[in-house]
Amino acid sequence: MHQFTIAEIIRGLRDKQFSSVEITRHLLDRIQQLDSNYNSFITVTGEMALAQAAAADQRLAAGEAPALCGVPIAHKDIFCTSGVRTSCGSRMLDNFVPPYDATVVEKFNSAGSVTLGKTNMDEFAMGSSNESSYYGPVKNPWNTDCVPGGSSGGSAAAVAALLAPGTTATDTGGSIRQPAAMTNTTGLKPTYGRVSRWGMIAFASSLDQAGPIARNAEDCAYLLSAMAGHDDRDSTSLNRPEQDYTLNLNDSITGLKIGVPKEYFGEGLSTDVAARVQDALNEFEKLGAELVDITLPHTDLAVPAYYVIAPAEASANLSRFDGVRYGHRCDDPKDLRDLYMRSRGEGFGDEVQRRILVGTYALSAGYYDAYYNKAQQVRRLIKQDFVQAFEKVDVIMGPTAPSPAFGLGEKKSDPVAMYLEDIFTIATNLAGLPGMSLPCGLVNHMPVGLQIIGNYLEEARMLNIAHRYQQVTDWHKVSAPSIAEAAATEGE
């Protein structure tokens, strides 16, 4: 049952092939048996999941249930879940049980989906390898000596290891797309503002955006249809009608103009990855699309601009973690300053501390213009690159990450090398554009992701394009060898 996609589960539940309780119990058992290999969950909510599943079965029996009713999923541990510990991968929030749900969680709950648990992540979503989590690194199901990417490494690994058919995730600089690429899953970061940020613990407010990770574009369309929509509790939420992203999946893509930016195929990109991406582009040509060479001249400034803006916003967003109202407090503070200094020194890990300090620096007197203001100007230049490109093309394609998954510990002590992991994904966050990653082949038995960047609010078009590709290719159906073997044994 764990091999079923969300679309298959939706059909199976309605055809009474299995109940929500059955598939939920099956996945919970599987998590219990296998997740010690991957560490993709921080918290498993078995009891709650079974209760939700039982309620979903009743709704399904009564008919008229929403599409995702009874479908088991997992939430990145950045989304607040009422009554369930929400750690954000940090010691700071190890004891934090919010009395409220994030809007995203609320929407899935009211759709009747089942929450299997909370997935592991880089601490406060700061990282590209999932090694900064207080709960230990997540291991890539394709090779447990490798990272799954980050920061939504747990959400991606849980899908790749067939522990959950779909998960929620967040993406501030590539945190959905890069782990999706590294685990052979499909992930979508929507247009900034398409999904509510209420109850999603903020890293960099003007860049953060929630989206789904699943096994294919069709499943992402189901999840995004449930997640997206205006929320008047989030001032930056876009007031646009909700839509069913599954409706246009099969539209023709003949005549589609695909922009191929030369800057995404230059230095730093592994030649093997480039070859797989080129294969995918050729496939799109066969589907009737036209490839157009474009240029995004400010691409190499995206990482530097991002590493000013994101830490600056984070430095303020994380000030609320002060040991006063919730979260970690140091033992026996001798005075107020000591309370702050030690609670935050102990509660935050190295990478989070580093980014807070960088952000503090960029905003401090005498440096604001040279760093923060400059980065915001460069941000506009980067956006203008895209605006100009979209005058000529419908979508932009390129690699998601410069190389396949790297080894655990390989880049941990070199933050700059780690930051360059997001070289192709960061610009879309700065511009607020939607981006997605889908499997497009293997390099040395490790997955490679193709990135699709769409124009604002063009998620339906992107899912349609990805779906058409996935109908003529099988890369997204390939499971990690260990998982496939286990599945084969089970089948016998």
């Binding site: 900034y192 590493y307 020194g345 580093r354 503090t360 760093y371 933050p415």
Partner: protein, 95 residues
């Protein structure tokens, strides 16, 4: 570009993060690496470019002035490391 330890101490004080004496050199070096990366921005000509704080040119929608929140003090206080008599407790604030 290295960042001197004095700067790191000042930043740590502003950010209220205790950094041990043993790790301060390490932090200085790493911070220096990151600043070197972002210093690429300095070479860019941005004269006349308006800074962009938000990715989309949207404007704020205001909320009607209504009381919509109920008293949930007891639920929130349960999360507090130390509280008494309905108050959050901290080491004495001296003015």
């Amino acid at each position: 570009m290295a960042v001197d330890s004095q700067t790191v101490e000042k930043l740590a004080e502003l950010a209220r993060i205790a950094i041990s004496a043993e790790t301060i050199d390490e932090v200085s070096n790493r911070l220096g690496d990151v600043l070197q990366l972002v210093d690429q921005l300095q070479a860019v000509h941005t004269e006349g470019v308006a800074p962009m704080a938000h990715p989309l040119d949207e404007v704020q929608v205001l909320r009607a002035d209504q009381v919509t929140e109920a008293d949930r003090r007891e639920e929130f206080l349960q999360l507090a490391p130390q509280s008494e008599a309905g108050l959050y407790l901290v080491p004495k604030v001296i003015d």
